[in-house]
């Protein structure tokens, strides 16, 4: 039998209908739902007198609108209505909901894996572009629009044209304190925000193999920032170990049987991809974005580029616009740029290991006077575990605010908004204009780099800070 990629194996197992000159009808194993992109889908079901085909394969939570302080007291009435609407819809259609009272509530892409709902070989969709996160477990996971949410609710399937495959092979040795976030920011910076359009990206190579599940999730999470349909990683012992004992993972003998099946999913030796990109990990330094899309990034020891550095007039114009919006002068070393806000959170970087890596920097230091710094754990479970380890104390003693879980300042649909003209070192995934608030200036970094920026008040090479003696 011809060797296959993991994507081909998952695809073939999920084709329900295949006809000539048509996309395939694909079965969906897990549908995650949140409050922002679902109300119109449920309304559509009601208008057409349709029901949810598989409420048992559907799980909902609320995350985008949730306040991270005083979460039950939602001041914004429209936000509150959206949250109440999800609750009502879940009750009406019999969908399990992790609501604000639940100790298992959190960002949808944090709780899926944490609860063991995300398992190798599954097709997973959610009305949210960062659904690619779940690909870290060897799933085919992608974001969909609200019409497709309604379609999955009604039929548990989707019409999909078969995407092409792209192998992003990352080999070599990562320098100390260069994280998964730096790796994915570097890949997008080198290959652009459209490199993955039309492709399912599989991340391979030594660097991926040596990463934890949480690091792999950070990589897959940002696949969409490169335009990819999905990002995934073949499962291995690290994956199985992570899933063992989780709430919705198989138990006992069933788990062992599942692992045997999951092992067969990994891409076969000699499988052919439509395209391959090779990344030399040793070249990657801690990254900071300077512009208004995730490909506009530089290494921490570089300066803000000049628009004339770019090849085409279109790029030069985009760079000029970005610099104007960001309030940056070309040629400024990024380490001279002062920040007013630090946000550690989002579905990219709000898991326990992210908080640990930030806390390690923060410990024994103080947040700079000019900086407002916030930590928003990705789920209530992450929060509880972090508190058990005393991370909350480390952050609070340094002057950080310690919040409840939610999407928070990643997208400003809740009270956590960065004011106009102010600058934020953010562990989130998008530095688009207005993303964190109208006129807010977002710089994407890793949790460790965000922590370093918090204590120094500007972007700082984490490696320099690590070598300093902590004076306290």
């Amino acid at each position: 039998m011809a060797p296959k990629t993991i994507f081909e194996k998952i695809w073939e197992k999920h084709v329900v209908v295949e006809e000539e000159n048509k996309p395939a009808l694909i079965y969906i194993d897990l549908h995650l739902v949140h409050e922002v992109t679902s109300p119109q889908a449920f309304e559509g079901l009601r208008l057409n007198n349709r029901k949810v085909r598989r409420p048992d394969l559907t799980f909902a939570t609320m995350d985008h609108n949730v306040p991270t302080v005083d979460r039950f007291n939602i001041q914004d009435l429209i936000s509150k209505k959206q949250i109440d609407t999800l609750k009502k819809n879940c009750e009406e259609f019999g969908i399990p909901l992790f609501d604000l009272e639940s100790p298992e509530q959190g960002i949808v892409h944090v709780i899926g894996p944490e609860l063991g709902l995300t398992q190798p070989g599954k097709t997973i969709v959610c009305g949210d572009s960062h659904t690619s996160t779940h690909g870290a477990f060897g799933t085919l996971a992608f974001g969909i629009g609200t019409s497709e949410v309604e379609h999955v609710l009604a039929t548990q399937t989707l019409w999909q044209a078969k995407p092409k495959t792209l192998n992003v092979e990352i080999n070599g040795k990562l320098s100390p304190y260069v994280t998964a976030k730096d790796v994915i920011l570097y890949i997008i910076r080198e290959h652009g925000v459209g490199f993955g359009t039309g492709y399912v990206v599989e991340y391979t190579g030594d660097v991926i193999r040596s990463m934890s599940m949480e690091e792999r999730m950070t990589i897959c999470n940002m696949s969409i920032e490169g335009g990819a349909k999905a990002g995934l990683i073949s499962p291995d012992e690290v994956t199985f170990e992570y899933l063992k004992g989780r709430k919705f993972a198989p138990k006992g003998d069933d788990f062992d049987k599942a692992v045997e099946e999951w092992k067969k999913l990994a891409t076969d030796e000699g499988a052919v991809y439509d395209k391959t990109i090779k990344i030399d990990a040793s070249k990657i330094e801690p990254q900071v974005t300077w512009g208004t899309n995730p490909s506009m990034g530089i290494s921490v020891n570089d300066a803000v580029p000049h628009p004339d550095d770019f090849e085409t007039e279109t790029e030069r114009r985009a760079a000029r616009r970005a610099l104007e919006y960001m309030g940056l002068e070309p040629g400024t070393p990024i380490q001279d740029v002062e920040i007013q806000h630090v946000f550690i959170g989002s579905c990219t970087n709000s898991r326990l290991s992210d908080l640990r890596s930030a806390a390690e920097i923060v410990k024994g230091r103080k947040v700079a006077k000019s900086v407002k710094a916030v930590v928003v754990p990705g789920s209530q479970q992450v929060k509880a575990q972090a508190e058990k380890e005393g991370l909350d104390k480390v952050f609070k003693e340094a002057g950080f605010e310690w919040r409840d879980s939610g999407c928070s300042a990643c997208l400003g649909m809740n009270p956590d908004i960065i004011p106009e003209g102010e600058r934020c070192a953010s562990t989130s995934n998008r530095n688009f204009e207005g993303r964190q608030g109208k006129g807010a200036r977002t710089h994407l970094v890793s949790p460790a780099m965000a922590a370093a920026a918090a204590v120094t008040g500007k972007f700082t090479d984490i490696r320099k800070l690590k070598n300093e003696e902590v004076v306290s």
């Binding site: 329900v16 209908v17 048509k22 996309p23 009808l25 079965y27 194993d29 922002v36 992109t37 119109q40 309304e43 057409n48 349709r50 085909r53 598989r54 394969l57 985008h64 609108n65 429209i78 959206q82 609407t85 009305g127 949210d128 572009s129 992608f142 974001g143 969909i144 629009g145 609200t146 019409s147 497709e148 379609h151 009604a154 039929t155 548990q156 399937t157 019409w159 044209a161 925000v193 459209g194 359009t197 039309g198 969409i224 920032e225 335009g227 349909k229 899309n293 279109t314 790029e315 114009r317 985009a318 997208l411 400003g412 649909m413 998008r430 688009f432 204009e433 207005g434 993303r435 109208k438």
Partner: protein, 195 residues
């Protein structure tokens, strides 16, 4: 969804690359639980200087572009967030066709589910259209049957579209109703692959 077959309308250029859905419809307007009423918030932060105060410099606010129904856009249009509120806003504002060298995947799908025709043309062709539409009233005819884009001065280009989506758009079909015709196949699949 309203069918789209042969459509003639005024075209407006938005000569920017990587326009993300956060720009098309900013996050503060995603809280509505209806599909309608998003048009007034389209490109909000670019269109308005302050609430109610138009930014005269923004492309779509220029007099010759104000009632355009065909948008000519740059590459990777609609990238970022999966929010279907973006095509809802474009449709509600009046756009029925968007022409660009490339689209982000999710946005492209979302358009077709709402009766907006996304047309991919070669970069050179889009550039030509941008130039023709700049500073002038400019009309285009998009023919989905023939898969062509034409103007009155002799411009003509053809585009590709998946035959399945073409049929859906031409007829304005409800996709779920189409899928439910495969109810037996779905049930058979579920029997063979219990979950």
């Amino acid at each position: 969804m309203e069918p789209i077959t042969v459509y003639t309308g005024k075209a407006a250029p938005l000569d920017r690359v990587n326009v993300d859905t956060d720009q098309i419809i900013p996050k503060q307007f995603l809280k509505r639980i209806e599909r309608t009423g998003f048009g007034e918030f389209l490109f909000y932060d670019w269109r308005y200087k302050a609430p109610g105060k138009l930014n005269e410099e923004f492309e779509l606010n220029q007099p010759e572009n104000r009632d355009a129904t065909i948008l000519i856009a740059g590459e990777n249009f609609g990238c970022g967030s999966s929010r279907e509120h973006a095509p809802w806003a474009l449709l509600d504002y009046g756009f029925r066709v968007i022409i660009a060298p490339s689209f982000a995947d999710i946005f492209y799908n979302n358009c077709m589910k709402n009766g907006i025709l996304p047309v991919r043309l070669a970069s050179q062709e889009v550039k030509q259209l941008m130039e023709k539409a700049a500073d002038a009233d400019y009309e285009l005819t998009v023919n989905l049957h023939e898969q062509t884009v034409k103007d009155l001065q002799g411009f003509s280009a053809s585009f590709d579209i998946d035959p399945h989506w073409k049929e859906m758009l031409l007829n304005g079909w409800d996709e779920i109703a189409v899928t439910l015709r495969y109810e037996e196949e779905i049930a058979a699949y579920e029997n063979q692959n219990p979950r």
